[in-house]
């Protein structure tokens, strides 16, 4: 069983919802990324999504765009991100790491080379935002062949046929995008999410995490009540922007609050 499946199964068995933070590798500096990952684990994160900076993050809002731009100033690339995961793995063998990014850096490295290097570095899952299932059959098979979980998005506009296509291709978890928009958008309609999750669950036998638009303890708690996992990204980056020099301390305080809110939800 993959680390992701094991962690999500353990959370479910233990009656708790999973917390999945997103950070952008190399933001605001490359040296902060690995210590930040350990800090996220220390404040109760179950899985860590590590963003691979890309010059053209089409699906991201202004916050993650800024994070990418800061990281790119240091020449961050996919190779360095994989080295960071390997570094993290030296002292943490338990927490799953999911790389999230865009197709071009992976294709530039070559999907075979990427699969081998990601596996060797200790990556557990890969979410390529601009790879819908139709365009990545070979890639998804290659990931699975290397013990990596290909993770896919579903959206409020996804039809039943698309839910089925994603369910066939995905493993690990499905990432449900909670609103029509880009990452970090403001308005989140939890009742709409509450209506959609059971529909997805009825067609896909796989845990569902919800992200995009989760901004505070209250929204995190509301989502935890209806989903298997809560994904939070832009708000973490904003916390770091707000506290130059004290990024890790500030993120820890913020995430402790989110964790506590999620844990108020009894399963």
């Amino acid at each position: 069983m993959s680390r992701i499946k094991a962690v999500l199964a353990a959370a479910r068995a233990g009656g708790r919802k999973a917390l999945i933070p997103y950070i952008c590798a190399g933001d605001p500096t490359p040296t902060i990324t690995v210590p930040l990952m350990h800090a996220l684990v220390a404040t109760g994160s179950d899985i860590i999504e590590v963003g691979v900076p890309f010059s053209d993050p089409m699906a991201d809002g202004p916050v993650i765009q800024r994070a990418s731009e800061r990281a790119l100033k240091f020449g961050m690339g996919l190779g360095v991100v994989l080295e960071m995961v390997a570094e993290f793995r030296k002292t943490n063998d338990a927490t799953p790491v999911v790389l999230m990014g865009y197709a071009n850096p992976i294709e530039r490295m070559g999907i075979d080379v990427f699969a081998a290097r990601a596996k060797a570095a200790g990556v557990d899952g890969v979410l390529v935002v601009d790879y819908p299932p139709e365009e990545c059959e070979a890639f998804a098979a290659l990931m699975k062949g290397n013990g990596l979980d290909p993770i896919f998005l579903l959206a409020p506009t996804s039809t039943d046929a698309r839910i089925d296509a994603v369910a066939r291709a995905a493993s690990g978890y499905i990432y449900y995008v909670s609103l029509k928009g880009v990452t970090g958008s403001a308005a989140l309609d939890t009742s709409e999410v509450a209506r959609r999750i059971p529909l997805i669950k009825s067609r896909a036998n796989i845990p569902v995490g919800v992200g995009f638009g989760i901004r505070d303890a209250a929204t995190a708690k509301a989502i935890a009540a209806i989903a298997d996992a809560v994904v939070i990204g832009s708000r973490i980056i904003e916390e770091m922007e707000r506290s130059p020099g004290a990024e890790i301390e500030n993120v820890k305080a913020f995430m402790a609050g989110i964790r506590a809110a999620i844990d108020e939800v009894a399963v």
């Binding site: 053209d56 089409m58 699906a59 809002g61 530039r108 819908p132 698309r162 928009g181």
Partner: protein, 405 residues
């Protein structure tokens, strides 16, 4: 597929929008439904006689089609070789070929009941064409434009505002066309229910490359009957500039089944390919995924998209339409690069010898024709797509000549 098989078997893209390994739909799940909706609407209306009749009527009465083909007799005589003919897309309403596509997409937006249109623009030509259609049909219009481009293209920004459009400056990334496209996509994802995204070139996710090509192919279709009227045959070569590649696909596509007609795409060589300061994705790029499709890209070793350089803002794009990538690979079209200086020289030549002020983009295609012509017989014919007029380029050209207007 072998190039020799071409005329009978060229039938691209496939149902998923692939041109061989290129094209496709590389977008976030959040956009998939909108693209499926667009694809099915386009598939329906492209066969609908009422839609086709409306499109043709608008092109005739509003755009001013057909555009003429003009024989550059003085220029050809001076060069002493092949005869150069121009397809005068510069004479269209709004001043470029862009209007063919924006008309088609605006009509589609109306049929789909979308009251709001958005667009990305670089030099501003596509933005102006979109704003024009929005005014013509009473649609709300938002145009995304890189803040760097806004500084360079003040007149077009004002034109769009006069036409009632909102121009939104894009501050992310390199603050140019590619970033404007990213931002327009973000808008579309957020406002997908009431908004139609009018993409200006043969790039983006399927069905855009096919749809934009189809709407622009009126250019080549006219040439197919205009050239025999003028010279009793088809030309020996058709030349067009290639940034994203919409004017080139528009004139190339109907000529694909004519193997005796060479198709030559001319990219922006900027300060020269060797300098690294250019926008020649096909001549110097490698395949990758950007803006929803797989195609040739200018990128670094990490797969980050790199900044491009060209004297003409309309060619300043790090990718290229996926069908051009395919035509290059199968050898049906050839792609070359022309530097800023060569394009500028051709620009001045056409002004002085033929009394036509061309767009700097189109000047690239003309420059390559002028390079080819002297080595060819006087009975040979080169047809150049003069995709736009040069009014928008007055400031750039004056500045290059050391003048301020």
């Amino acid at each position: 597929m072998k190039p020799n098989d071409l005329p009978e078997t060229y039938n691209f893209p496939d149902a998923q929008g692939h041109f061989g390994p290129y094209g496709g739909i590389f977008v976030s799940e959040t956009l998939m439904h909108a693209l499926e909706e667009l694809k099915s609407a386009y598939e329906h209306y492209q066969k609908d006689p009422a839609f086709i009749a409306e499109f043709e009527s608008e092109l005739k009465h509003y755009v001013g089609r057909p555009s003429p083909v003009y024989h550059c007799k003085r220029l050809s005589d001076m060069l002493g070789g092949a005869q150069i003919y121009l397809k005068r897309e510069d004479l269209n309403h709004t001043g470029a070929h862009k209007v063919n596509n924006t008309m088609g997409q605006a009509l589609l937006a109306r049929r789909m009941g979308k009251p709001r249109v958005i667009a990305e623009t670089g030099a501003g030509q596509h933005g102006v064409a979109t704003a024009t259609m929005a005014a013509r049909f009473g649609l709300e219009c938002v145009v995304y434009m890189g803040s760097e481009d806004i500084k360079r293209q003040v007149q077009n920004v004002y034109r769009m505002k006069l036409l009632g459009a909102t121009v939104v400056p894009v501050e992310s990334g390199s603050k140019t066309l590619k970033d404007a496209l990213n931002e327009a996509m973000r808008d579309w994802v957020t406002n997908v229910e009431n908004t139609f995204y009018i993409i200006g070139t043969v790039a983006g996710p399927h069905p855009y490359p096919m749809m934009v090509r189809d709407f622009n192919s009126v250019v080549g279709k006219e040439c197919l009957w205009q050239m025999p009227e003028m010279i009793q045959r088809q030309p020996d070569a058709v030349l067009a500039c290639v940034g994203g590649g919409s004017n080139a696909m528009g004139i190339f596509y109907p000529y694909i089944p004519y193997p005796e007609v060479r198709l030559i795409g001319v990219e922006a060589g900027g300060s020269g390919i060797a300098s690294g300061k250019h926008a020649a994705s096909l001549s110097a790029g490698t395949p990758g995924v950007l803006h929803g499709n797989r195609t040739y890209l200018l990128q670094d070793e990490n797969g980050q998209i790199i900044e491009t350089h060209s004297i003409s803002a309309g060619l300043d794009y790090p990718g290229v339409g996926p069908e051009h990538a395919w035509l290059k690979d199968i050898g049906r079209a050839e792609y070359v690069a022309i530097n800023d200086d060569e394009a500028l020289a051709a620009f001045h030549k056409l002004c002085r010898i033929e009394g036509i002020i061309p767009a700097l983009e189109s000047s690239h295609a003309l420059a390559h024709a002028m390079k080819m012509a002297p080595a060819m017989g006087k009975d040979k014919v080169l047809l150049v797509n003069l995709s736009g007029r040069g009014d928008k380029d007055m400031h750039t050209v004056a500045e290059k000549s050391g003048l301020t207007l």
